[in-house]
């Protein structure tokens, strides 16, 4: 689950990360009121779940409430990479002396979080990682003890961070505490600002939470914004599907994450463009498959569906029954290319062979199925 900047700051500050005063606002009037209340120059920052706000004009420095109101008028309603800005964070502008980067990320390779620190704050860390990896200092963080102040100081020193060493270390320790306590998969403070007065504040925050751990964070669930996700993703998550909306035209349904990824690969390989990733999981019954088909069909981008099943725990005949139900209910208005194999393969093939419809076709392997469908939908 991705958090907005204002949510991420709120979460991190619970664990001791210092952030500038600020409030979220939904209208220019609210922005004016907040700017007046703060009584100092402010930043007005678009709150959208996408990077590159700054370049898109979604972040503005405003020296007084009038300027803040004008900025809010410009930013609210703005479209940033397909996301409409519905709210802004109004926050006291900080007197920046130094801008650094500090982030914690789940790092599969060390089987724990890695703390990343760089002198080059404020810019995209991926860019730094790609062009000057030596500018990022890394430390695997003990998952039981968490980051300790002496380790944080050591990384800060190695990375060449200057001034307010103890406060910078404290902020990193607080960041680490927040990650373990809230089950973050990523938490970045970028920039981590040392002010002209020697204070250390998080001027921006990017936090992603571990979906698998949300069950133990009832207090964080209000951060969820279904509107920010694609509506089909919201619906899919209600069904318990692993679903990702993509930007092509071939709907894809399969059982097992690996098999669905492979189906995507095959569709791409034959020149098609997947419209989605949809894993029905293990042991799905006809009803589940029926719902998956309905869901994929509701995507207006979809021109045809590839159903790729290797029956293991899932029975292929249940899959066939689900598709047939969609057909019988008259919902199926796009071609479906099916590859069924594995458990109950024969039963599934028998069921499908009986159908008198040109919409559902069987293929001996996923490659053939993908190829035929890609040709058909691009014709």
């Amino acid at each position: 689950m991705k958090l907005h900047e204002y949510q991420g700051k709120e979460l991190l500050s619970r664990y001791g990360v210092a952030v500038p005063m600020g409030k979220v606002a939904y209208s220019p009037d609210q922005v004016r009121a907040i700017a007046q209340e703060l009584g100092v120059p402010v930043m007005v920052k678009a709150q959208v779940h996408v990077g590159g706000r700054g370049k898109a004009g979604g972040v503005k420095y405003c020296k007084d409430p009038d300027a803040a109101t004008a900025a809010a008028e410009a930013i609210l309603g703005m479209d940033i990479k397909g996301f409409t800005v519905k709210k802004v964070l109004v926050t006291a502008a900080v007197d920046i002396a130094k801008e650094y980067y500090a982030g914690m990320i789940v790092d599969r390779n060390v089987q724990t979080y890695t703390l990343m620190v760089s002198k080059e704050g404020g810019i995209e860390i991926e860019e730094v990682a790609a062009t000057r990896p030596e500018a990022i200092f890394r430390l695997p963080v003990d998952p039981v003890a968490g980051l300790r102040p002496f380790e944080a100081r050591r990384v800060a020193l190695e990375a060449g961070l200057e001034g307010s060493l103890s406060k910078i270390a404290q902020m990193m320790v607080a960041l680490s505490r927040a990650c373990f306590a809230a089950d973050a998969t990523l938490a970045e403070i970028n920039p981590l600002v040392v002010t002209a007065q020697g204070e250390v504040v998080a001027a921006d925050a990017k936090v992603d939470l571990d979906d698998n751990a949300l069950f133990r964070h009832a207090d964080l669930m209000h951060y969820r914004e279904t509107e920010a996700e694609h509506p089909l993703e919201v619906e899919a998550s209600n069904f318990g599907f692993a679903y990702v909306k993509l930007d092509g035209h071939v709907g894809i349904i399969g059982n097992g994450a690996g098999l669905v990824m492979t189906s995507l690969d095959v569709v791409n390989r034959v020149g098609g463009k997947p419209a989605n990733f949809l894993d029905i999981g293990g042991g799905a019954k006809a009803e589940v498959v029926y719902n998956a088909v309905r869901l994929v069909l509701r995507d207006p981008d979809v021109r045809g569906i590839l159903i790729n099943i290797f029956g293991g725990i899932t029975r292929a005949d249940e899959v066939a029954k689900g598709v047939i139900r969609a057909l019988e209910e008259g919902l199926l208005n796009k071609p479906v290319a099916m590859r069924v194999a594995g458990t109950a393969e024969e039963e599934a093939k028998a069921l499908l062979a009986d159908l008198k419809t040109p919409l559902i076709r069987m293929y001996p392997d996923m490659f053939a199925a993908a190829e035929a469908l890609a040709r058909e939908v691009s014709a």
Binding site: R108, G258, G312
Partner: protein, 300 residues
Amino acid sequence: MSILIGSETQVLVQGITGREGTYHARAMREYGTKIVGGVTPGKGGASLDGWPVYDSVQEAVRHHRIDASIIFVPPAGAADATLEAAHAGVPLIVNIAEGMPTVDMMRVVRELKDLNLRRRLDGQPPIRLIGGNCPGLVSSGKCKVGIMPNRFFASPGRVGLISRSGTLTYEAAALLSEAGLGTSTTVGIGGDPVIGTTFADVLPLFEADPATEAVVLIGEIGGADEEAAAAYIAGHMRKPVVAFISGRTAPEGKRMGHAGAIIMGNVGTPESKLAAMARAGVPVADTMPEIAALLSKALP
């Protein structure tokens, strides 16, 4: 011969009285696995299908030699169940649970490392964890400690199979059967970001296993386990290895079903994995059926 498990392996089922636990305990028995009992805290003293149910793993190890434990416990309790088995000294733990918080797994892996340090000093063999979120292991024709459908593992054979994906494992096993090669041992290592056993941990076992003549490695995008495996293969393996990587066309930043299958920036990209395999001289199949063809070429 096989790796990690065999016909003499005695298995405990944690969470045996749950729906999943009962179902798979029976399926394992059908396959031939020696299940000796189960654990469900609070239900000690009961019995299920003739298997004794214990309150704790510690109690179970007092009554049986336990070679392996398989965990069917909801994700919130799976870390605790794993540590329970580890502290009771069970040498092989297979964690099936899907959806565990990553921080829990970090802590489990960390604690196992510590425990194994202590065991090493005491001259005891290390405790090995497979998973979580994995289908388990099969020693073809001898023993299954997992949830794979029995039918695809009926042909004992020459190929060791390791995979991050469940369904692709079954499909690969079926392909290998059809191709007349069969599988020696199959290890599903799981699709989560932090797991107990990686490709590079399993490869040396296959290299040393007389029953295994070649290895099929089914990887996917995300992380750098495939790269680590390639480095190990290049440095240490004499047996042929064929790989398959799924998710090669997945977009960056999107989690593809598995929590671990995600490209973040330049970490976990297919380019990196393919390049590593190429450097290690490992042929990568473009499609699943190609695996068998590449293997046939590689095998003497």
